[in-house]
Symmetry: C2
Subunit: 355 residues, 2 copies
């Protein structure tokens, strides 16, 4: 595939009929790569956050279904269909909040259904699934690049951008959503700087965003999550750009825990707060009341990189995401254009349109 910008980092890719990924849980200390055609192994990689970031999870799940279908394509048709459906179910149940996972697996399931209706052989169905998964991956990268181009228009020269977590190449198939905007601005010659929050408990900012931006050569400064408000209040931030795990039809943004407080600080200090999200993240069928906020193992909070930071018998809570109200969001950057309030009607219009 040819893209208009360099693709230096990939989180998830296809190699020799297997899905491959860089284990982001070990970065930047180890650069480990795994490949598999086993849905259980892939599910484990998603649950333990070897693969993380809503778009990357969606792409990986699609590729995983295809790899498994190719592997079992010599079995009889009934058994083949049953097992592919089981694989889809296994991957569906890995993480509850990201919309892209369900969106990508629904596309794979629809492809399976259509192929069954057409009475294709398992080998032909597997080939269809492979093509669909690769299409999903390619669409993700192209969507990120287009999002980057739309978003870069919003970035002034010499701007300092604050971001949270990692919405970069390591959260997508490649290029990134929030970091995609930074990349296009940078490639177009804008002298940007980035302030990255460390993003406890799993430290995606300190481990992934810093690593990814340093590889790209974009100046980046690390802060603790609780410093974001103060650097915004001091006037050190020109705009905030974050990714999203899900955007509801009303424009609520579900993203990494901590996003909400950054949005509050941005609003208070009149700093624009942008969300970069492909339309695959926008769920017109779900209202804020339907969203399940994942609670993860409290041990992630009680430890840092596996080492205890509190008493062993301490109680802890671990919400993985939070909810940012629509009135705090200046605009949502998608691959089909920049969406501004009122979100209920404008999101509907853009998701429905041909991009």
């Amino acid at each position: 595939m040819e893209y208009p910008y360099p693709i230096k980092i990939r989180a998830v890719w296809w190699d020799n009929n297997r899905v491959c990924w860089i284990d982001t849980s070990k970065l930047p200390f180890e650069e480990k790569i795994y490949c598999t055609d086993d849905p259980e192994r892939l599910a484990k990689a998603i649950i333990t956050m070897e693969i993380r970031g809503a778009p990357a999870i969606g792409v990986a799940a699609a590729l995983g279904v295809a790899a498994y279908a190719l592997k079992i394509s010599s079995t009889n048709r009934e058994e083949f269909v049953k097992r592919v459906e089981e694989a889809i179910k296994t991957l569906w149940n890995t993480r509850p909040t990201a919309h892209n996972l369900f969106w990508a697996l629904t596309r794979m399931r629809n492809t399976l259904k259509t192929s069954i209706d057409e009475e294709l052989s398992p080998t032909d169905i597997a080939e269809r699934l492979r093509r669909e998964a690769l299409e999903i991956m390619d669409e993700d990268i192209r969507a990120n690049i287009r999002m980057g181009e739309y978003g870069a228009e919003l970035v002034p020269d010499n701007a300092t951008i604050l971001t949270h977590c990692n919405a970069g190449a390591l959260a997508t198939a490649a290029f990134g959503t929030a970091e995609g905007v930074m990349r296009v601005a940078w490639y177009k010659g804008k002298k940007i700087r980035v302030i990255a929050t460390e993003t406890r408990p799993v430290l995606q900012g300190a481990r992934l965003t810093v690593w990814e931006l340093m590889k790209e050569g974009i100046p980046v400064t690390l802060i603790t999550d609780n410093m974001a408000g103060y650097v915004i209040r001091r006037g050190m931030v020109d705009l905030v750009i974050v990714g999203a795990d899900r955007v509801t039809r009303e424009g609520y943004v579900i993203n990494k825990i901590g996003t909400y407080m950054i949005a509050l600080a941005a609003k208070r200090n009149n700093v624009p707060f942008y969300v970069a999200a492909p339309t695959s993240t926008i769920d017109l069928n779900s209202s804020i009341d339907d969203v399940v906020i994942e609670e993860r193992d409290p041990e992630e909070v009680k430890k840092v990189l596996g080492r205890p930071i509190t008493l062993e018998n301490a109680d802890a809570l671990n919400y993985a995401f939070d909810i940012t109200d629509p009135d705090l969001v200046t605009a949502i950057i998608t691959e089909k254009g920049v969406v501004k309030p009122p979100y209920p009607e404008n999101l509907k219009r853009i998701v429905g349109s041909q991009g």
Copy 2:
């Protein structure tokens, strides 16, 4: 000394003409105690945060001046005065933000001056300094208890209190400011629960607040700093209570980095935001423009408990405190009563009054 409530934990105390402290930088993993009459050793303990928390720093500095004065009281008068003044200067230059440090050292310097004017001998001056330092320590504990009694009136039964950092026994001579309010509410039979933020980079919440409240038997749940907004938004928090390193005459609250974003989330969700601060923390002479926000070594941000969380050559920022605007503060709890807006006049009235 007799106090109306149990004093289970002390951060700083006087023993055999030396100042003693528990090394809070090692808690809860090691309970190390040190004693000294050497101002340089004490200054190091303050700089490296073996002793931390605005009131504890003030008390420790006062006791440190007294211990040193007693040690050198056999030298000639001129030399004695010169060296005590040098010790005050050494301790003055340890940390720039906490007001109590300057307040306590100013009291010690004034005692020194009065004693010089009265032409007392070094031995008698040292004894005066000892009495003044012990008085400062006792006043701190009594102020915390009175603050706790005023503050407990604001705590409903069955309330969940969110706190940040550690404004507890380990941040004062004993009993605590914010935690003093919790202690009195608890001793009076209110079934409170506490949500404690971990407080990066130095983890005073995870290490100290959890340890201190578990020792007291008060139920406590640990969260990451970036979860505070979401738990407030979910309606899980009835009130916020934090300490302060300094309150300006306008009512700006300078406290541990992250306080500002918690205050924004509390305001947004109509949750009361209280600051517990002895009047020694309130600086009527300083305006917000005079406040120096300490920047500490970026290595604290790049590491957790000494272990790297990012690339070695990454850039990082480390502001130790932030500024919360007066309109975000529901009330300031002092040992002389609860101060409500408008702060400029009401702070002046309470600090000036006889407690």
